[in-house]
């Protein structure tokens, strides 16, 4: 492979450079119990997708800047006006009007607590998190919904007060740039690249 895939957008069109797929030869699958007759083939491949965050891009960009963005419906005609959404949503699911992005980092720092949790010992392929993964679902004062994320330090329990940490060094621009630690955790206990 000469150069790995790179993508930019110009004039709202993707401009691609490098290799987006790799040719890998297939191999036969044979029946070891019956004279090694042919049963099938492998179909190996490596390819790269391009994925747009669209109106959610601001959320993922903000994580790398140490901010947790949410969205709020400010449509005066909406039956549920004032609802704050975390996960961030572009449009209000009730009135379908575009919501207002708001910075809820302080709300998270002051009110986040664990609603439920689990400890994952086995992950699917392509998981980038070290096992065991401590999934937590986090509730916030004044927010209509409950965010799913992971606890980077300590042991989870229901009601545990947690605060957000952000991967500002070498961000991945994915949801993995956001993690949580118990309130009172020292900065030197955070994983590499993360800060409050």
């Amino acid at each position: 492979m000469s150069r790995f895939a790179e993508v930019q957008v110009k004039n709202n069109q993707y401009k691609i450079k490098g290799d987006f797929h790799e040719l890998i030869p297939n191999t036969p699958i044979r029946d070891a119990d019956n004279g090694h007759r042919l049963m099938g083939i492998t179909n190996p491949r490596m390819l790269v997708h391009m994925h747009s965050y669209g109106g959610e891009a601001v959320f993922f960009e903000s994580l790398s800047q140490g901010k947790l963005m949410a969205s709020r419906c400010d449509n005066p005609k909406c039956e549920y006006k004032g609802s704050i959404w975390q996960p961030f949503r572009i449009a209000c699911p009730d009135c379908l009007r575009k919501m207002t992005p708001i910075d809820m980092t302080d709300i998270a720092r002051k009110t986040a607590k664990v609603h439920t949790f689990m400890v994952c010992e086995r992950s699917g392929a392509f998981s980038l998190l070290d096992k065991p993964i401590k999934f937590i679902n986090i509730e916030f004062d004044g927010v209509a919904t409950i965010l799913m994320s992971y606890l980077a330090v300590g042991e989870p329990k229901m009601g545990l007060r947690v605060v957000p940490i952000f991967k500002k060094i070498d961000p991945t621009y994915t949801i993995l740039d956001l993690a949580w630690v118990p309130e009172g955790t020292k900065a030197d206990a955070l994983p590499f690249g993360f800060s409050f």
Partner: protein, 477 residues
């Protein structure tokens, strides 16, 4: 607190009666490398024809529309896989369409098939579902399944659906299970029951005689869920033939299958549990608002509905279905059920969503022995036996086929053909050995049954109800 409109809560009404005439299925296994998917579909359709003493070619002449349930193109590595199957089944020039609603794909396929007949568009419809999950190793399979979660917000968090259920298990255990070890053992008992019933099912992938301790000692996947708490990853196909009344009578005249009335309803809820908002509990006919008045006091932490402990999609599927069909109390009005036991915890959650027990008391359905074919506590028939096929934990979860397999199973009970269709010839056909202690699980005098098909963490749920037409609960259903 969100509310639903009067229009959204309209009770569905079909334009004419619809019947399940016959059904069939292939064997199910973790891998079936000696057969292509189309061969499994041919096996299923051939069995459906055989059940009404017809040649497949004869039966095919009646089919007017085809619905194909196939959850994941990724698994089969074939886009438009429905067209491949339609072609290989030789069903040109009929209109056909693929249905994809995750784990509920099988139920949703039936939902569409029933509506096609109810509307008058077709008089005879094929609903065929399948999945081919053996072309990748298990961890890649889990990755593919996790692609049905939100790819930006959930998928990267472990790429494993078990984890998304485990947070619900944890919440349920702590709120309704009150962190009791006995509740954890009740969860494990469901796995013992379903792997045990699978021992009598020739089509089943995972017959096992295990104990509660075996379940509790199995490897942790996502604590508190362990390997034996989880459903299977499978290959296989299942189908059903859905007809209007004249066609149903013609196809079954002088045959063992009595046409069964069929209704399918559907509900939904957010793909991400994170997006669930508070609401009042939509009440089933056997519930009152009064009984949930002090719910948060009885079960601290349980006052948020559906929160992480219930499935609104399942509740609404039952809400619509019971009103369509006149069911007042599922335990009294139904004789046998198949629930979507993706995990032991979600089986318990479903007991409450479909009204077998009130919210918070699901464990009692297992602990009372009501869910068994024969109640282990009394030695008498279980009040409402569930998942006698082995369910998703013991029989299979070939996703697109699952809801149809469940329907095949409950229909066999009402047709009084369970023993025949799970007897020696079918063990031979599946290349499996019939156990010496094989037990006939026919539910005696079964007249009405329910199957729940469920997707994601409750994003889509269908309720399929079958009734002997001479034992309806509502004349205008």
């Amino acid at each position: 607190m969100i509310k639903f409109s009067e229009q959204q809560l309209k009770v569905p009404k079909m334009m004419r009666p619809v019947y399940l005439v016959t059904a069939g299925q292939s064997k199910f296994d973790r891998a079936i490398p000696d057969k292509r998917t189309e061969e499994l579909c041919v096996d299923a359709l051939t069995m459906a024809a055989e059940m009404i003493d017809m040649e497949p070619a004869e039966l095919k002449k009646y089919i007017h529309t085809c619905y194909y349930g196939h959850f994941a193109d990724h698994f089969g590595d074939q886009l438009l896989g429905e067209a491949v199957i339609h072609d290989r089944l030789g069903l040109d020039p009929l209109g056909n369409i693929g249905v994809k609603t995750g784990g509920a794909t099988g139920g949703s396929t039936l939902w569409e098939a029933v509506k096609a007949v109810a509307s008058g568009y077709s008089d005879c419809v094929l609903a065929m579902g399948w999945e081919r999950m053996d072309e990748v190793p298990t961890d890649e399979g889990n990755f593919y399944i996790s692609c049905a979660a939100d790819k930006d917000w959930e998928g990267p968090l472990g790429h494993i659906y078990t984890g998304y259920y485990a947070v619900m298990a944890q919440k349920y255990w702590q709120v309704f299970g009150k962190e009791e070890e006995s509740f954890r053992r009740t969860m494990a008992e469901i796995s013992v029951k379903h792997h045990g019933y699978a021992c009598n099912n020739p089509y089943a992938q995972a017959p096992m005689k295990i104990t509660v301790d075996d379940v509790l000692k199995s490897p942790v996947v996502a604590y508190p869920l362990r390997a034996l708490d989880a459903c299977l990853m499978s290959v296989g196909a299942a189908c059903a033939i859905i007809c209007d009344e004249p066609t149903a009578m013609k196809l079954t005249k002088g045959k063992k299958n009595k046409p069964l009335r069929i209704w399918v309803s559907a509900g939904s809820h957010t793909l991400r549990p994170a997006d669930r908002r508070d609401m009042e509990i939509p009440l089933l006919p056997n519930e009152t608002a009064e009984q949930y008045k002090d719910f948060g006091k009885k079960f601290p932490g349980g006052d948020r509905y559906p929160g992480f402990t219930g499935f609104l999609g399942a509740r609404m599927a039952a809400w619509y279905a019971y009103r369509m069909t006149g069911i007042k109390d599922p335990t009294e009005d139904l004789d046998v059920i198949e629930l979507h036991d993706a995990f032991t915890i979600s089986d318990i959650q479903s007991y409450e969503d479909v009204g077998i027990r009130p919210y918070g008391y699901g464990r009692d359905y297992v602990e009372s022995g009501d869910c068994y074919h024969t109640n282990p506590k009394t030695g008498k028939p279980g009040k409402l036996p569930s998942n006698l096929s082995g369910g998703l934990i013991g029989c299979m979860h070939a996703v697109g086929a699952t809801g149809i397999m469940q329907t095949f199973e409950i229909a066999c009970h009402i047709w009084n053909r369970w023993a025949e269709m799970h007897g020696k010839p079918y063990w031979d056909r599946c290349g499996r050995t019939m156990p010496k202690d094989w037990t006939d699980l026919q539910v005696k005098d079964a007249k009405r049954a329910l199957a729940i098909s469920h997707a994601g963490v409750g994003s889509h749920v269908t309720a399929t109800i079958l009734m002997d037409p001479d034992h309806l609960l509502k004349n205008d259903a």
